[in-house]
Amino acid sequence: MNVTPSCALEVKGLSVSYASHRAVEEVSVCFRRHRVAAIIGPSGCGKSTLLRSLNRMHDFDPTVKVSGQVVFENQDLYGREIHPPTVRKRIGMVFQKPNPFPKSIYKNISWGPWINHMRGDMDQRVESCLRKAALWDEVKHRLHQSALSLSGGQQQRLCIARALAMNPDVILMDEPCSALDPRSTACIEDLIADLREKYTILVVTHNMQQAKRISDDVLFMYEGRLVEFGPTTQIFSQPRVAQTQAYIQGKFG
């Protein structure tokens, strides 16, 4: 990969292994600033594992071993002086299944800034995050109702809003639409297109059409290895590797 200063997140020789086996092997890639990168590949190829290693979400499982580097703002996130919670403040995450806190809609958004003592007007922050997540109009009258009363699609947008409330630089999304209906999916895709102006976004997806629609770059993984990384148009029109082409055309996976 040619390294340009516009890398928001640069992965260098990253390997991740679980107790029994290696899930990610020697991946090196540069995720460009303010771009959407889609991570694709067959089930079990290590997409989630890769994504979770980018904001140190593997720390809680002592059996997971990570080696290699993830460079963010000229610092290796696995360096010794790094404080993992600080990393996660800057690199947010949205999970496959919507996981709002069993609290009110308002508190779901305000919780992160609150525990991190972030300054500023909380009401304003909540409103602006909900607006960015295209949820404000649907919930403005019931901010203090339980977040669990929202639909699945709304919950997922709430989770995105919650991640935005930390004002991160990078947002990692692990199949954010897989539990949603087509309308909510379209809503979140639009949202990703809007967020791209301010944030760097990495999205894991199983949906080729979605990857094509929303991403600027595509990373194709197979059995823990990076097979091909490049601009979306190139990957979908003339992939360099035969395997990529076969996967995109739905021949396996």
């Binding site: 996660r88 995450m93 992160g112 991190n116």
Partner: protein, 281 residues
């Protein structure tokens, strides 16, 4: 095919019959108690002290003693139990030592209560010099119900979905934020249910209280934790062991009071389970 069907029906009938029998037994017991205890069960029964005359006997001292014990025991057992459970679930290294500890705690829940009474006598009454006071009684009961509280709190904490913890960590939370502000509140309904059920076990305990020196006959209400005390089951036992038949009826009234408290506790537990236990899985 047919044989299996036969067994199925047979099994169903056996189960049905057994549960009917158990329920019937309980009903008979209740009816008997009500008939016996009805006569002396009026408001003055709750406001009068024990007396030599059955008509004037009341359960005030026992009732207050039990309330004191409950309050003190809950205050001590809740934080101790929850902290232990949180430690075991969230902090303790997942090694053999922790497993051993957990197995031991689970086993302690099955130790006969009289053993706890002896322990309480040795430690609280004698060693710490707390004498025969509410302190000794409630500390002994705390020891008695701690294992149950720990085990049930562990279950409640374990059932908090991982996704909630991940959601909090992904927002830059530190472990103590997650445990105190997310896991604990989410587990609270389960924890409270366990605490209430454990306390309702403590209400009925007699043996350990006798051993640490609770009295059977008392004509005052304890005003501080270092006072002498009696408790409902002891008072009931005291009446039931008297020769006069009238006192047996008074004992039945006492049992009805005890049962109502237990029922209230259990209803609260059910209510908590149904109303508060709502988080996404």
């Amino acid at each position: 095919m047919k044989r299996r069907w036969c067994k199925d029906v047979l099994f169903r009938w056996v189960c049905g019959a057994v549960s009917m029998f158990a329920t019937a037994l309980l009903l008979v017991l209740l009816v008997h108690l009500c008939r016996q205890g009805w006569e002396y069960l009026d408001s003055s029964f709750l406001t009068q002290f024990a007396s030599r005359r059955p008509a004037q006997a009341g359960i005030k001292a026992g009732l207050w003693g039990t309330l004191w014990l409950l309050a003190l025991t809950a205050t001590m057992a809740f934080p101790l139990g929850v902290a232990t459970a949180l430690y075991l679930e969230e902090y303790a290294p997942q090694g053999r030592l922790t497993r051993l500890l957990e197995v031991n705690i689970a086993n302690l829940a099955g130790v006969p209560s009289i053993i706890y009474g002896l322990l309480g006598l040795a430690i609280f009454v004698r060693l710490l010099g707390l004498e025969r006071s509410l302190w000794s009684g409630s500390m002994t009961l705390t020891l008695l119900i701690l294992p149950v509280i720990i085990v049930s709190a562990q279950g409640a904490i374990r059932s908090v979905p991982r996704s909630l913890r991940e959601a909090s960590y992904a927002l830059g939370a530190q472990p103590w934020h997650v445990n105190l502000l997310v896991v604990f509140p989410a587990a609270l309904p389960g924890i409270l249910t366990g605490v209430i059920l454990a306390l309702s076990r403590a209400i009925g305990e007699t043996a350990p209280l006798v051993i640490v020196g609770a009295v059977g006959y008392m004509r005052f209400v304890p005003t501080s934790p270092s006072d002498d005390f009696t408790a409902l089951p002891l008072q009931i036992y005291d009446w039931a062991s008297r020769p006069q038949v009238e006192f047996h009826q008074v004992a039945a009234s006492g049992i009805l009071v005890l049962l109502s408290i237990l029922l209230m506790f259990n209803l609260t537990a059910v209510w908590i389970r149904h109303r508060l236990q709502r988080y996404p899985s």
